[in-house]
C-alpha cells in the first residue's frame, strides 16, 4: 500500500506475462484463472483463436494473446495459463505464459500510451505502468475477439 501517495481511486490489476513483455488487465474483468487444456480448433477462424474449450458446460473461445498482440505464438505447454475474462456479455479465455502479480494502482500511476506506429499497441494498450523498473502495459479487452463479419456487413 506504500505506493498509494498520489491520490486518485485505487484499483486492482492482474499482471501476466506474454513472451518477454508484461501486461495487465483490470481484476474486475477476470472471472477465473485455470491451467491450459487442449482446445478444439474452430474452422474459418483467425489464427489467434486457438479454438474452444469446455468451461463447466459453457463453450469458451480461447484467444492466444501473444498472436493477438502480434508476437510469435509459442508452443503451448502445461505451464501456460488461461485467464477467463468477461467482455461485455461474453466470456473469453486468454492464453498467456504466466500470471505474475496483483497490483494496486491509482489512476495517476497509469501513464498515457506514447505515440507509436504499432497498430496492435493502439488497439489494445490503454496505458503504461512503471513499477519497480518494469514496464507493464494496461490492455483493454474490447477488441480481442474478431469482429463479427455478419454484424459488420
Amino acid at each position: 500500500m506504500s505506493e498509494l501517495h498520489n491520490g486518485g481511486a485505487a484499483r486492482e490489476l492482474i499482471s501476466f506475462r506474454v513472451g518477454a513483455q508484461e501486461f495487465c488487465v483490470d481484476i474486475m474483468a477476470v472471472r477465473e484463472i485455470r491451467g491450459w487444456t487442449a482446445a478444439t480448433a474452430l474452422p474459418q477462424s483467425p489464427s489467434y483463436v486457438r479454438g474452444v474449450i469446455n468451461l463447466r458446460g459453457a463453450v469458451l473461445p480461447i484467444v492466444d494473446l501473444a498472436a493477438r498482440l502480434g508476437f510469435a505464438s509459442a508452443e503451448t505447454t502445461a505451464r501456460h495459463v488461461i485467464i477467463v475474462a468477461q467482455i461485455g456479455a461474453q466470456q473469453v479465455g486468454l492464453l498467456v505464459d504466466a500470471v505474475s502479480d496483483i497490483l494496486t494502482v491509482t489512476d495517476a500511476m497509469v501513464q498515457p500510451t506514447p505515440e507509436v506506429a504499432s497498430d496492435t499497441a493502439k488497439a489494445f494498450v490503454r496505458g503504461l505502468i512503471a513499477l519497480e523498473g518494469r514496464m507493464i502495459s494496461l490492455i483493454g479487452l474490447d477488441h480481442v475477439l474478431p469482429d463479427d463479419e455478419l454484424e459488420a456487413a
Binding site: A38, A39, T40, A41, L42, P43, Q44, S45, G51, V52, I53, N54, R56, G57, A58, V59, L60, P61, Q90, Q91, V92, L145, P146, D148, L150, A153
Partner: protein
C-alpha cells in the same frame, strides 16, 4: 411501479390463456358440445378478462367483455340457443376481444368493436340488447328475462353478506372497496364496518387484514350473482351469504305480505330457467362450501405453477452438465479397467439410467402441447376465408402432442404462412369446387403426432394440388431450372421451396408478401427440422414437417475428421458407405462424385471443407455419410472414421463467440472436450461455391 408492471404482465398472460380457453370452448360448442362444463368455461374466460380489465381501468375492454358476457350468461342459463349463427357471432366477438386485449397490452390503436357489439345485442334481441350496448351497465336491466315485470319487484330479496378479507386477498391486489362497489351494482346495499379486530397503531401490521364488513343487500338477482362478485377472492376471505328471512327494516317487501307473489315468481322462474338451481337453494349456505364442485374441477384441470423460464433453463443446463459428467465418469471407469460386474460398474449403470430419466423429465418441463399454436389458426382461417371468399373448415388433430416451448414459439410463423397458403393457393373457389364435384367447403387439416422421437406436423388441403406445369414454367422463367429440364413430379413440387420462387403473378393480400415457401423451409431447418410436400392433382397437397422434440439435445453421428471429433445430425444422414476407389470419380478440377447405386452424388471431404486439411482425403481410406440436404439434394460427406451414434447436448457457440460457417453448434463429449456439430446444409452449399453461400446468407439476413 415495477410491481404494477409485473401484475399487468401477469394479467395479460392470463388473458392469453383465457382467450385460448374461450376460443377452444366456442369451437367445441360449434362442434356440438352442449355440456355445462364447456359453456361455463367460456363464460368464466370472458368474466375473468372483464374482472382483470376492470382492475386496470381498461374501460373499452370491460365494456365489450361485459356485453359479451351478458350474451354468454343467457346461453349459460339456457335462454339463448347456441345456434351455428350465434356461435359465429360469438367467435367473432372472441376475435375482437383478443384484439382489444392486444391493443390494451401494446398500446396499439383503437379496435373496431361496434359491429361485433351490435351483433351481440342482436342475439339478445330488443331491450336486453340495448342494455348490453349501454355504457352504464350497472343497472337492473339484465335481470333474468323470465322474471316478468310484475314478478320482478316482489322477487327482490334481502341478503346478509358477511365479508372478512384475509391478508392474502390484499396481497393478490384485490380491493375490498371494489368488491363492495360491485355489490352495490346488484341492488341497494347497507354496509356496516366491523373494526373490532383493529389493534392499536403500535401493534398494527400493515400487511395484515383486520377489517370486516356486513352488507345488507336488497337485490332481485340470484344468490349466484352475489357469489360471483367474490369469484376472484374465493379462498382469500371468510364469506357468508344468507338470505334474511325475517322482516327487515330496509327490505321493501315483508315476506308475509307477498307470500303468494313470491311463489308466483318462483314458478315463473322455474319454468323459464329450469336448470338454474337458484330458487331451490337452501336459504343459508356458506359460499365456499356450496361452490366446492367448481373449484374442484378447476384444481383437477390445472394444478400448475408458474415458473420463470430462466429457472427451467438453468435446470436444463445443469442436467446437461450431469449427463456429460456421468459420461466422463463412465469413460474413466472403463479406462481404469474395472470389471463390468464390479459394484462400481453396476452402480454406474444405475446412475446412467437415473441421469437419463432426470434428463427426460427435465426436458418434459419445457414441453408444451402444440395446442397453443394450433389455437391461433382457426381465427386465421376465418379471416383468410373471409378475404378470399372461400369456404373453409379447419380441422385440427393431435393438439395435445407435446414439444419444446421454443419449437412451439418458432412454429407460429411458418404455420401461419402455410395455412394462409393452403387456403389462398391450395383451395379453389366454392364455384370451382362444385364444378369439380367437390363440396363447396374446403377442408384444411392441421395435425400433429409423435413419430420416432420427432414431432410430425402436417398441413393438408383438399384443393386442386400443385399445378406442376405452372410451377415448372415459373421456375424456368426465373432461371431456377433449365427450360428443358426433365423433372420428376416430386422434384417439381419441391421447386416451390427454392429461394427466388415467388409466384408473383398471383400476389394477393394474403399470401403475396414477398415471403415464399423458401422462408418457411428456412425457419423449419433452423429448428433442425425438415419439410416436404406431397401433392395429387385435383385431390390437394400435404406439407409434412418433421421437427426435433427439443432444441437441447440432438441425436448425432460422432465422426473423426483430420484428428478432430465432429458430430453430424443423424436426421440428415440417409446411410453410411464404405467408398471403393472404383466408385469415386473426379469431375472437373478437384470436385469428386461418388456412385451410389447407379446415381452420382457429389463427394465432399469435410476436413477440406472446414479447412482442417488442404489435400483431400483418399476416399478409400474413409467413410462416406450419404446425406440429404435442403430440397432433397443428396451429397456424400467424407470423414476419416465413424466413432458411433450418441445423443449430445447442444451448446451455443454464439454465447461466447460467434457463428462459425459450417458449424451449427457445439457439444461436450464424454472426455470433457468440445466437439463441433456440423451444419450440413452450409457445408454442401460452400462446396458448391463459397460465394453462393455468402450471398445466400446475406439475402437471408436482409429478408429476416
Amino acid at each position: 411501479m415495477d410491481q404494477l408492471a409485473a401484475i399487468r404482465e401477469t394479467f395479460f398472460q392470463e388473458c392469453e390463456e383465457q382467450l385460448a380457453e374461450l376460443e377452444s370452448g366456442l369451437l367445441a360448442m360449434e362442434a356440438g358440445a352442449t355440456d355445462s362444463e364447456t359453456i361455463n368455461a367460456v363464460f368464466r374466460a370472458v368474466h375473468s378478462i372483464k374482472g382483470g380489465a376492470g382492475a386496470f381501468g381498461l374501460d373499452e375492454l370491460v365494456r365489450f367483455a361485459h356485453g359479451f358476457e351478458t350474451v354468454l350468461d343467457e346461453v349459460r342459463a339456457g335462454r339463448l340457443e347456441p345456434t351455428p349463427d350465434a356461435l359465429k357471432v360469438l367467435l367473432r366477438a372472441a376475435d375482437v376481444l383478443a384484439d382489444l386485449v392486444c391493443s390494451a397490452r401494446d398500446g396499439g390503436g383503437s379496435v373496431e368493436t361496434e359491429t361485433s357489439a351490435a351483433e351481440l345485442s342482436q342475439l339478445l334481441g330488443g331491450e336486453a340488447g340495448d342494455a348490453a350496448a349501454e355504457d352504464d351497465w350497472g343497472d337492473f336491466e339484465f335481470q333474468p328475462l323470465g322474471a316478468g315485470q310484475t314478478a320482478a319487484a316482489p322477487s327482490a330479496k334481502a341478503w346478509r353478506v358477511t365479508f372478512r378479507p384475509r391478508a392474502d386477498l390484499y396481497a393478490k391486489a384485490n380491493e375490498s372497496a371494489l368488491l363492495l362497489r360491485e355489490l352495490r351494482r346488484l341492488g341497494e346495499i347497507e354496509v356496516s364496518l366491523d373494526a373490532s379486530n383493529l389493534p392499536s397503531l403500535a401493534e398494527l401490521d400493515p400487511e395484515a387484514a383486520y377489517l370486516a364488513w356486513t352488507v345488507i343487500l336488497t337485490t332481485e338477482r340470484e344468490q349466484s350473482a352475489i357469489v360471483e362478485v367474490f369469484d376472484f377472492v374465493d379462498g382469500d376471505c371468510d364469506l357468508s351469504i344468507e338470505e334474511i328471512a325475517e322482516d327487515h327494516a330496509e327490505s321493501p317487501i315483508a315476506p308475509t305480505d307477498v307470500g303468494d307473489l313470491d311463489i308466483a315468481a318462483l314458478i315463473a322462474k322455474a319454468q323459464s330457467a329450469a336448470p338454474d338451481p337458484g330458487p331451490e337453494a337452501p336459504p343459508t349456505r356458506d359460499a365456499p362450501a356450496a361452490r366446492a364442485p367448481e373449484p374442484m374441477t378447476h384444481a383437477a384441470a390445472g394444478a400448475t405453477i408458474r415458473v420463470d423460464l430462466e429457472r427451467v433453463d438453468r435446470l436444463i443446463d445443469l442436467v446437461g452438465e450431469l449427463v456429460i459428467n456421468q459420461a466422463m465418469l463412465s469413460q474413466r471407469v472403463l479406462e481404469a479397467g474395472i470389471a463390468r460386474a464390479s459394484g462400481v460398474a453396476v452402480g454406474l449403470d444405475e446412475l446412467e439410467q437415473l441421469t437419463r430419466e432426470i434428463q427426460d423429465s427435465v426436458m418434459a418441463i419445457r414441453a408444451q402441447p402444440v395446442k397453443s399454436v394450433f389455437q391461433r389458426m382457426p381465427r386465421l382461417a376465418r379471416e383468410v376465408a373471409a378475404l378470399t371468399g372461400k369456404q373453409v373448415r379447419l380441422v385440427t388433430e393431435g393438439e395435445a402432442t407435446e414439444v419444446d416451448k421454443t419449437v412451439i414459439e418458432r412454429l407460429t410463423d411458418p404455420l401461419t404462412h402455410m395455412i394462409r397458403n393452403a387456403i389462398d393457393h391450395g383451395l379453389e373457389s366454392p364455384e370451382r369446387r362444385e364444378a369439380a364435384g367437390k363440396p363447396a367447403e374446403g377442408v384444411v387439416r392441421l395435425s400433429a403426432a409423435h413419430r420416432s422421437g420427432r414431432i410430425v406436423i402436417e398441413v393438408a388441403d383438399d384443393g386442386a394440388g400443385i399445378n406442376r406445369e405452372r410451377v415448372k414454367q415459373i421456375a424456368a422463367e426465373r432461371g431456377l431450372i433449365a427450360a428443358d429440364a426433365v423433372l420428376s413430379d416430386e422434384e417439381t413440387d419441391n421447386l416451390i421451396f427454392m429461394a427466388g420462387f415467388s409466384t408473383a403473378s398471383e400476389v394477393s393480400d394474403i399470401s403475396g408478401r414477398g415471403v415464399g415457401m423458401d422462408v418457411v423451409r428456412r425457419s423449419i431447418q433452423a429448428l433442425g427440422g425438415r419439410i416436404s410436400i406431397a401433392s395429387r392433382p385435383g385431390k390437394g397437397s400435404t406439407f409434412t414437417m418433421s421437427l426435433p422434440l427439443t432444441l437441447a439435445v440432438l441425436d448425432g453421428m460422432v465422426v473423426t475428421v483430420a484428428g478432430q471429433t465432429l458430430v453430424a445430425p443423424l436426421t440428415a444422414i440417409v446411410e453410411t458407405l464404405q467408398p471403393k476407389a472404383a466408385d469415386v470419380h473426379s469431375l472437373g478440377g478437384d470436385a469428386r462424385v461418388i456412385a451410389v447405386r447407379d446415381s452420382y452424388v457429389p463427394l465432399i471431404d469435410v476436413g477440406q471443407a472446414l479447412g482442417y486439411r488442404a489435400a483431400p482425403l483418399d476416399a478409400a481410406c474413409g467413410v462416406a455419410l450419404l446425406i440429404e440436404s435442403e430440397g432433397g439434394a443428396r451429397a456424400a460427406l467424407l470423414a476419416d472414421e465413424i466413432q458411433g451414434q450418441r445423443q449430445v447436448v447442444i451448446k451455443s457457440l454464439e454465447a461466447n463467440y460467434r457463428q462459425v460457417p459450417g458449424v451449427a453448434a457445439a457439444t461436450i463429449l464424454g472426455d470433457g472436450r468440445v466437439a463441433l456439430i456440423l451444419d450440413i446444409d452450409t457445408i454442401v452449399a460452400v462446396s458448391r461455391g463459397a460465394d453462393l453461400a455468402r450471398s445466400e446468407r446475406r439475402r437471408a439476413t436482409a429478408a429476416g
